[in-house]
């Protein structure tokens, strides 16, 4: 099989949400000692990007997006041990992510974490209802580049601002980029809090993280 066709096959398996086939491709690539960097970038990453596009177009919905990211993740789990240099290469960023204290909504945050992992970032998902101090402590401990804070309620959004206030108080404002997510978050809110950005959906979050880390 031509290399290009092999890449296309991987991409299609992800778009078709065909886990069995996607894993077969990953195993074959490892067994035949192929260039795994190309396999991930031209095959799997292409597939997940297309899944994201289909979601933005309204062709795919939450279950397809989540499933696509999960399949991508299980394939990456297989490939990573064989690809130390790649792992170093793509792990250009570490993200600590949490839903803010008082807010138990975790779907959006989990989806963002899954998509970021699928794109090769190292993600520490602290869960939901996480105290402000804990988020900052974990970001320091994990040496994060990005702190992602989700709030789905207008009553809990104020916690997002408090994370930034705590970072300022600890003189850590320049150490981390802080990004927001959640249905009520707007650009005005991001500016008011002096945060580094927000995304309206999981695909937007990946783009945002990439653009912040490429700076």
């Amino acid at each position: 099989m031509l290399k290009e066709e092999f890449f296309k096959g991987i991409s299609r398996a992800i778009v078709d949400l065909d886990e069995v086939k996607a894993i077969e491709y990953a195993k074959k690539a490892i067994k035949e000692n192929m260039n795994l960097l190309d396999i991930v970038e031209k095959g799997f990453a292409d597939g997940i990007r297309k899944v994201g596009e289909l979601w933005e177009e309204g062709e795919f919905f939450l279950p397809e997006l989540m499933r696509g990211a999960q399949i991508m993740q299980s394939c990456l789990d297989l490939l990573m041990p064989h690809l130390q240099s790649y792992s170093e290469k793509i792990s250009q960023g570490t993200v600590v992510i949490a839903t803010i204290e008082g807010d138990i909504h975790s779907i959006g945050k989990t989806l963002v974490a899954t998509m970021l992992r699928a794109y090769g970032y190292e993600v520490f998902d602290l869960g939901a209802d996480v105290p402000i101090e804990k988020i900052v402590e974990e970001a320091i401990e994990k040496n994060a580049d990005i702190i992602g804070i989700s709030a789905l309620l207008t009553t809990t959004m104020t916690g997002q601002k408090k994370v930034i206030e705590l970072l300022n108080a600890k003189n850590l404002a320049n150490k981390f980029k802080v990004i927001f997510g959640g249905a009520p978050v707007t650009n005005t809110w991001v500016k008011e809090c002096n945060a580094d950005g927000f995304a309206e959906n999981a695909i937007g979050a990946v783009r945002l993280v990439k653009s912040l880390l490429d700076k």
């Binding site: 177009e57 309204g58 062709e59 939450l62 008082g102 779907i107 009553t155 959004m157 601002k161």
Partner: protein, 292 residues
């Protein structure tokens, strides 16, 4: 039964209540607190909000039990208090419900999704809705299952209610607008949802939350061709913005009410508001209904 009479009376437009959470925020609801717990902790505030809607002209208001299912309450470690929460919710609304008006048992989503998004099963949903329904049944006049974003969860809720209660039932799904039309976030189209609900033992098909009044008007224009059942509509007052750590909905009441007028003209039977609407919104709609 009053509600059934309203449904049969072609000249009657039923006025529902407006947003509850946003009214609580105005009164200083603490960050992250589940509104249902306030039935016990601050009952007078809950009664005051219900009363403000009845006073504004609502024909019926819903109990403050949106999140009162064992599945949802367990996320706040409150599942053991469900009986007291619902008992007090009923007391809070009963004491202010005027004669001639109705009490609607409010059933919201469990907050748990089915795989691959979450881990919930239909049996878990059914059992959770069942517990809530049993506790509300004796005191409510009718039901509103609302803000459901998964048709499968809606069907579990309908079955749970119908296995216990013969009272009228409104089933409202929440939709998002995509490039291909209106869908639930789980991917069920408006058409599929309504056609599925047509075959269920329910009295009214509804849509609420997520969409503002403009989009909801468009949705209604499409939905009415898919069903002969009466339709209930509760849109949001546009999208929220935050200023000085407070939430505002900027859509002027008159704009919202004007869209509601158009919805009534094209066939909405029950109208009201969701997030961001207030007693003032309901009062404005009351005037419109009375002038028709």
């Amino acid at each position: 039964m009053l509600f059934q009479d309203w449904l049969k009376d072609d000249s009657k437009i039923v006025l529902f209540d407006g947003g509850f959470g946003t009214e609580l925020i105005k009164r200083g609801l603490e960050s992250g607190k589940i509104p249902d717990l306030l039935n016990i902790e601050q009952p007078y505030i809950i009664s005051e909000i219900h009363k403000s809607y009845y006073d504004a002209g609502s024909d019926m208001c819903q109990t403050n039990t949106f999140g009162s299912t064992p599945l949802n309450l367990s996320r706040y470690n409150l599942e053991n208090r469900i009986e007291l929460i619902i008992e007090d919710a009923l007391k809070n609304i009963k004491k202010v419900c005027p004669s001639g008006c109705l009490i609607v048992g409010d059933i919201g989503p469990t907050g748990e999704f089915r795989p691959p998004v979450g881990n919930a099963s239909s049996d878990q949903w059914y059992s959770s809705f069942s517990t809530q329904t049993k506790l509300l049944e004796k005191e409510v006049d009718l039901w509103h299952i609302e803000t459901i974003s998964d048709l499968a969860e809606m069907l579990a809720a309908i079955k749970a209610v119908r296995d216990i209660s013969k009272k009228p039932l409104i089933a409202s799904i929440t939709y998002k607008k995509t490039k291909r039309g209106f869908f639930t976030i789980m991917g069920d189209s408006l058409k599929k949802c309504i056609e599925t609900l047509n075959n269920e033992n329910i009295d009214v098909i509804g849509a609420n939350c997520t969409l503002g009044s403009k989009d909801m008007l468009e949705l209604l224009g499409i939905a009415k061709d898919f069903t002969d059942k009466p339709i209930s509509i509760k849109p949001n007052a546009g999208q929220p913005i935050i200023k000085d750590n407070k939430t505002y909905y900027e859509q002027p009441v008159e704009d919202f009410a004007n869209d509601i007028r158009k919805m009534i003209e094209i066939g909405a039977k029950i109208v009201g508001g969701c997030c961001g609407t207030s007693p003032k919104t309901i009062m404005t709609i009351r005037k419109i209904i009375d002038s028709i």
